[in-house]
């Protein structure tokens, strides 16, 4: 069994989806049970894969390879390395919590769970793929179900038209879920188009025999090609990672999406983007990376600061969390741009930390919205009196978001800024730290406005705290945040192995340039 473990992790949700398709829509309990079973198998598999990763041997392990299109050099090959374990774990936790968080869904639940499971299969597939084309294939599978998930189960939310573009604004129905879904899909697929072009370029230049990532990494591409191709990968994957100015799909998309979809999308999918930039862009194209890294770092610093300021000016709870994701993903990209082990460790750790934190955030926002039927912060206040549990978890997520020591957010931000500082990138580190400071302002402001103070007002007196399955989701995510905050080595030992492996490909170039 163990030799097929990675395939099992990838296939379990898809197989569960296949069985769910065959169930009648009225078998609501069976649909949920099967979905949870699929998620559980993947989560358990991820835990096993993570725990049994041989740290002494490091390098890629649990190799599996099946021919898909042998004549074109496409193989369905999976493996895990230091980075994969923590990311699989993250995905497993989020989908498990996501299924729990969607337990009460009333509307067309069969289709919903099918799409959710297919999507998460795609995510698992990306993290373990060792073949660039298969990587891309899973990437697309992870991106597209989002269109239906947001378009069908999302929430429309009128955004008043303002400013010089209000005619266009009205014309496209900004705030409408259809608008958000279409915008997200088209922007991400334009990104995919850039990635596809880059894949063609690499495949053709490497002799057009194989899409294997190790093979592609062993080829030396000429400097000119690297400089042209790297931005395609950076912006292509970066669109999904919310790289400024291609982040605009993210607030609309996350605000319109249903709870579990927001959790998955901000918690895991955006990481696919950052993972793609690092795993494909930076590892395969060291010279291109070195050429562009000042831009990548600068844009990441903008991301951190700009996202934070945008979040500060929102009054819609979901938009705040969505913009904070943009800001936090900037931290990931900033860490990646340092090209140091510390920075990369921080970046990958931040992927996990932010994934869990934002998952918790969106789960809580979903809970609050479900009960209060509003996401507008000015209308809220004093909710801690009626939903103390939710308030506690929200505060925990906020503390991690602002990087309080003892929470997971602190570890990653500390590592990233340390990496940037050590590498002499003061110009990135300072706005980055400033961004973290602004984050503290807006998350604390939001927490106070929603949960603390006098209240709640008359209409919210009947609000209740979280219930059964919801507690499950919150408890898992909250525990992870604290555990990772006080015991970061649990993941960092793994992540470090991955960073070192990948940086060895880059280091000769980095050192050579200096």
């Amino acid at each position: 069994m163990s030799s097929y473990l990675l395939s099992l992790i990838v296939a379990a949700p898809a197989l569960a989806a296949l069985v769910v398709i065959l169930l009648p829509p009225t078998a609501r309990m069976a649909i949920r049970a099967l979905s949870l079973a699929g998620a559980t198998v993947s989560l358990a598999g991820s835990v096993v894969a993570f725990a049994t990763y041989d740290k002494a041997a490091s390098g890629p392990q649990r190799l599996e390879s099946y021919p898909l299109v042998p004549s074109m050099g496409v193989r369905l090959s999976f493996a895990m390395d230091g980075w994969t374990g923590p990311l699989l774990l993250l995905t497993g936790i989020i989908i498990f919590a996501g299924v729990l968080a969607s337990w009460k869904l009333q509307n067309r639940d069969k289709e919903y769970f099918v799409l959710l499971l297919v999507l998460v299969s795609g995510v698992f597939g990306v993290f373990v793929s060792q073949d660039l084309l298969v990587f891309f294939l899973f990437y697309e599978i992870a991106v597209l179900p989002m269109y239906l998930l947001i378009g069908i189960w999302g929430a429309s939310h009128a955004v008043p038209a303002r400013g010089p573009f209000q005619v266009v604004w009205k014309r496209f129905a900004v705030g409408d879920k259809q608008y958000a879904a279409m915008k997200l899909t088209l922007m991400l697929l334009v990104g995919s188009a850039a990635i596809l072009a880059a894949i063609f370029a690499l495949y053709t230049k490497s002799g057009a025999t194989s899409f294997d990532l190790h093979h592609l990494a062993s080829v030396h591409y000429d400097r000119h090609l690297q400089i042209v191709v790297f931005p395609l990968l950076w912006l292509g994957f970066g669109t999904l990672a919310g790289v400024f100015p291609f982040h605009t799909w993210s607030p609309d998309g996350h605000a319109s999406a249903p709870t579990a979809v927001s959790m998955l999308h901000a918690g895991v999918l955006m990481k696919l983007g950052a993972f793609g930039v690092m795993r494909v862009g930076m590892v395969l194209l060291p010279e291109g990376t070195l050429f562009w890294v000042p831009v990548v770092g600068a844009v990441a610093a903008i991301n951190v600061l700009y996202g934070a300021f945008c979040a500060m000016s929102q009054s819609d709870l979901k938009y705040i969390v969505a913009y904070s994701s943009v800001s936090h993903m900037g931290v990931v990209m900033l860490g990646a741009a340092t090209l140091t082990t510390t920075g990369w460790n921080g970046a990958v750790f931040q992927m996990v930390a932010h994934g869990i934190m934002t998952g918790l955030f969106f789960a809580l926002v979903g809970l609050v919205y479900e009960r209060a039927h509003t996401r507008s912060i000015p209308k809220m206040g004093g909710f801690a009196n009626v939903m103390p549990g939710v308030a506690a978890f929200f505060t925990l997520a906020c503390l991690s978001s602002l990087g309080l020591p003892g929470t997971a957010g602190f570890v990653s931000e500390f590592l990233v800024f340390l990496g940037a500082w050590n590498a002499g990138h003061f110009l990135w580190a300072i706005p980055g730290v400033l961004g973290a400071f602004v984050t503290a302002i807006y998350v604390l402001k939001a927490t106070r406005a929603i949960f603390w103070g006098a209240g709640p007002s008359e209409e919210f007196h009947e609000l209740s705290d979280a219930k059964t399955t919801e507690w499950g989701a919150l408890a898992i995510l909250g525990t992870c945040l604290v555990v990772l905050g006080v015991w970061p080595r649990l993941l960092l030992d793994h992540i470090d192995l991955g960073s070192v492996t990948y940086l060895t490909n880059l280091l000769p170039v980095v050192v050579g340039a200096k």
């Binding site: 299109v69 004549s71 074109m72 697309e140 597209l144 239906l148 259809q178 088209l186 063609f200 057009a208």
Partner: protein, 501 residues
């Protein structure tokens, strides 16, 4: 004997056509006022069974070799395309059976005869190595289609006069444009023949290219371009798709296009390989404008048949992209794309047809609430649309991927980049269809209840789209082999030239 073996597919298909004719003649004449005579539907099933038998047989008969004194050459190339045409024929016949029986009950025999005749022409076309044979086959493909396009003209339910007018327009446009394009093609071929001194396709490119020959070449390109709906010769496509009966359009939108592409490949990629410097640049431009115009004009369409017409124009642009690579890889990927396109496009047209039959009409509103009215149909539509848009795990992903890869490898980087961007643009209107099916409330529209043949056809298309998408390797390899077969088994040009002069 050898000739019989090599030509078995055209011969067997002709036999099927004769069988259909005999069955039609011998079946009792329809009684006026009676409902559809059972004989017509029976003939339809005979056609399906016959074509299926031929498709199965194609895996057991080796047709490699030349026949008719070198005018026809069989091999993996003809076999692959033959299977594509047979599959399209089976799907088209299944899809059209109920429609024909309901709307034109008294002329069913002729419908099936025309359909099979057209397929006979298609099975000859890819193997034709002499222009005379190619021209005959080409016309044999086209002329029955003109008739079929007008089939919805009469016998349609009273009280639906609009359909009649549109059907006449559809057929007339197809006929006039088709006849003109044939004339232009033949004129071009005459010029090429005159220049080369031979009507053998392998000898066409032997001599140096004269200006007159180059003119002929452009004429041929334009003429075939009409048939495949390449921009700027595409104007008939949306009108015909809208006017003719939709199940027939499902067939029309794939099989003749594939036939036209095969002629293009035989003539240009193979016959005029030495002149590629002359025909590749225009082909690149045609591919680009086809993708651009098709995708852009599909955006504002409100009639799904017209939308799919423009989408088809764009899809032909993708095929031309691979064709412009002008090598065996490009040809192989052209074939693979066409094979995938058959199952995808027939499928999408049939679903649209079924949904329209349920009362919603052919606009976006016809798809409204399909997910609720018929979840399986909606799921099938989802797969077909994803395939047209080129999203995994369906066949369209691999098709588009390899089409672009082929062009990229041939150095057409700019074309590929433009194509990928336009393909993303195209996603918008496919998603709009999806939106109609999944996110709009259907109100009190009826539940679509397609008959057995239609359900079978859609199920087969779905199996093809998902099956090839999950396991593309054997199909890709077959397509590659076919592409190599066409290019690698040419007589040396110099030798042919000497032999004919």
């Amino acid at each position: 004997m050898n000739d019989l073996r090599v030509l078995w597919l055209p011969l067997a298909t002709s036999a099927l056509a004769i069988l259909v004719l005999l069955l039609d003649v011998m079946s009792p004449p329809p009684v006026r006022g009676a409902s559809a005579p059972p004989a017509g539907r029976m003939i339809g099933w005979v056609v399906v069974a016959g074509l299926t038998a031929l498709l199965v047989a194609s895996f057991f008969v080796d047709s490699t070799g030349t026949a008719a004194a070198g005018a026809f050459r069989g091999g993996p190339w003809t076999t692959f395309l033959g299977r594509v045409f047979l599959a399209a024929g089976i799907l088209g016949a299944l899809g059209g059976m109920d429609d024909v029986a309901e709307r034109m009950p008294r002329r069913q025999g002729e419908y099936w005869l025309s359909l099979v005749s057209s397929i006979v022409g298609m099975t000859i076309l890819p193997g034709a190595r002499d222009l005379v044979l190619a021209v005959v086959a080409f016309e044999l493909v086209s002329i029955p289609l003109y008739v079929l396009a007008a089939y919805a003209k009469t016998d349609s339910p009273p009280g639906n006069p609009a359909t009649n007018g549109l059907a006449s327009e559809a057929s007339l446009k197809l006929y006039l444009v088709g006849a003109t394009s044939s004339a232009i093609t033949f004129f071009g071929l005459a010029l090429l023949t005159g220049m080369a001194g031979t009507s053998r396709i392998d000898g066409l490119g032997a001599g140096a290219m004269t200006p007159l020959g180059a003119l002929g070449l452009v004429f041929v390109l334009g003429g075939i371009g009409y048939k495949i709906g390449m921009v700027p010769f595409h104007h008939w496509v949306p009108d015909t798709y809208q006017g003719a009966s939709t199940p027939f359009v499902a067939f029309l939108s794939v099989a003749p296009k594939a036939a036209g592409m095969s002629l293009l490949a035989v003539l240009f990629t193979s016959g005029l390989a030495a002149q590629r410097a002359i025909w590749v640049p225009p082909l690149v431009i045609f591919a680009l404008v086809s993708m651009a115009v098709g995708n852009l004009l599909a955006l504002p369409q409100t009639d799904l048949r017209r939308l799919l017409g423009y989408s088809g124009i764009a899809q032909m642009g993708y095929v031309l992209t691979a064709m412009a690579a002008a090598d065996a890889f490009g040809l192989g990927m052209t074939l693979f794309f066409l094979a995938g396109y058959v199952v995808t496009n027939v499928g999408v047209f049939l679903v649209v047809h079924v949904a329209a039959q349920a009362g919603g009409g052919y606009g976006f509103e016809g798809l409204a609430g399909l997910h609720k009215r018929s979840p399986w149909l909606a799921a099938a539509l989802l797969c077909f649309l994803l395939s047209l848009a080129g999203i995994p795990f369906v066949v369209g992903f691999w098709a588009k991927l390899y089409v672009f890869l082929a062009a990229w490898r041939a150095g057409l980087v700019g074309l590929v980049v433009a194509g990928i961007v336009l393909a993303v643009l195209g996603l918008f209107y496919y998603l709009r269809m999806l939106q109609a099916a999944y996110m709009v409330d259907g109100g009190d529209l009826a539940v679509p209840r397609p008959g057995l043949p239609l359900r079978l056809a859609i199920a087969l298309c779905l199996a093809g789209v998902v099956g090839i998408g999950l396991w593309p390797a054997p199909f890709l390899d077959d397509a590659m082999r076919a592409g190599h077969d066409l290019l690698d088994h040419r007589p040396a040009p110099a030798h042919v030239a000497v032999a004919h002069r």
